[in-house]
């Protein structure tokens, strides 16, 4: 499948691996893929995001992710859905933190083991099931549009296809599968 990736899509995958390493995480996650997508300039992704008026910086995205993690991985859209059932996530988090300390509900992450002699740095970095799903979905996005090559924009489409925290977070900025497709439309027809 990787031979079908364009150079820019490969760049996103390598960038995601690098982001995962820098964060000291054991796996490549969807958020590392998003970070790599946002790094790139002059890509179809950056053009589409600019067209959608997406200007959130990495810091802002990080804050959004941190906020959701503190709520046990519950996004704002999740919170709204739970509020419909009369469940106040903010109240639950406040009470748990009162007893068990700030960040008590943050899901545990596996961190990279730092082997002596730098083995951990050169070793294979696995993708989480969610990140793998994004790669598979990017191929599906490509096939559905009758295109041959998987570009960075297909990775963005796959990320917005969700489910997950990254898709929910992007949606808060108006970046959804539907709006990205619309933003890409003129180019998609040209290629």
């Amino acid at each position: 499948m990787f031979e079908r990736f364009t150079d820019s899509a490969r760049g996103v995958v390598y960038g995601a691996i690098e982001h995962s390493r820098q964060a000291g995480d054991a796996c490549v996650e969807e958020e590392h893929m998003l970070a790599a997508l946002l790094d790139a300039e002059g890509t179809r992704t950056s053009v589409a995001l600019a067209a959608l008026g997406f200007v959130a910086g990495r810091d802002e995205i990080e804050r959004g992710l941190a906020r959701a993690r503190r709520r046990g991985g519950v996004s704002q859209a999740d919170e709204a859905a739970l509020a419909d059932l009369g469940i106040d996530v903010g109240e639950i988090v406040a009470r748990v933190e009162q007893t068990h300390g700030e960040g008590a509900l943050v899901p545990a992450r596996r961190t990279r083991r730092l082997w002596p002699f730098g083995g951990g740095r050169t070793g294979h970095v696995p993708f989480t099931p969610g990140a793998k799903r994004v790669l598979e979905q990017s191929l599906r996005e490509t096939i559905e549009r009758g295109q041959r090559h998987i570009g960075d924009e297909h990775i963005l489409l796959a990320l917005t296809a969700g489910p997950g925290l990254v898709a929910d977070l992007l949606a808060e900025y108006g970046v959804t599968h539907t709006t990205v497709l619309k933003a890409l439309a003129p180019r998609a027809q040209a290629s």
């Binding site: 709520r71 046990g72 991985g73 519950v74 996004s75 859209a77 999740d78 919170e79 859905a81 739970l82 419909d84 059932l85 469940i87 996530v89 639950i92 748990v96 007893t99 068990h100 008590a104 509900l105 943050v106 899901p107 545990a108 489910p163």
Partner: protein
């Protein structure tokens, strides 16, 4: 509650996506709540057997899930 928000909320109830999303999110939150409570019980010296009994699951199940923490 105004009529408009009432209507909106009732419409939301009927949208399966909202209900399903709530269930999935609650499940995720529940997993973290369980981790917090199990950790807290362990810190207070509870055995896996005692924790398992309160949770209504087998000792093996709770140890397998939380044993590394």
């Amino acid at each position: 509650m105004t009529e408009a928000t009432d209507l909106a909320s009732r419409a939301g109830d009927r949208d399966p996506r909202v209900g399903l999303r709530a269930v999935a999110a609650l499940r995720r939150l529940l997993e973290q709540l369980e981790a917090v409570q199990v950790r807290s019980a362990r810190v207070q010296g509870w055995s896996w057997q005692e924790i398992a009994a309160e949770l209504g699951v087998s000792r093996q199940a709770v140890h397998k899930k939380h044993g590394r923490n």
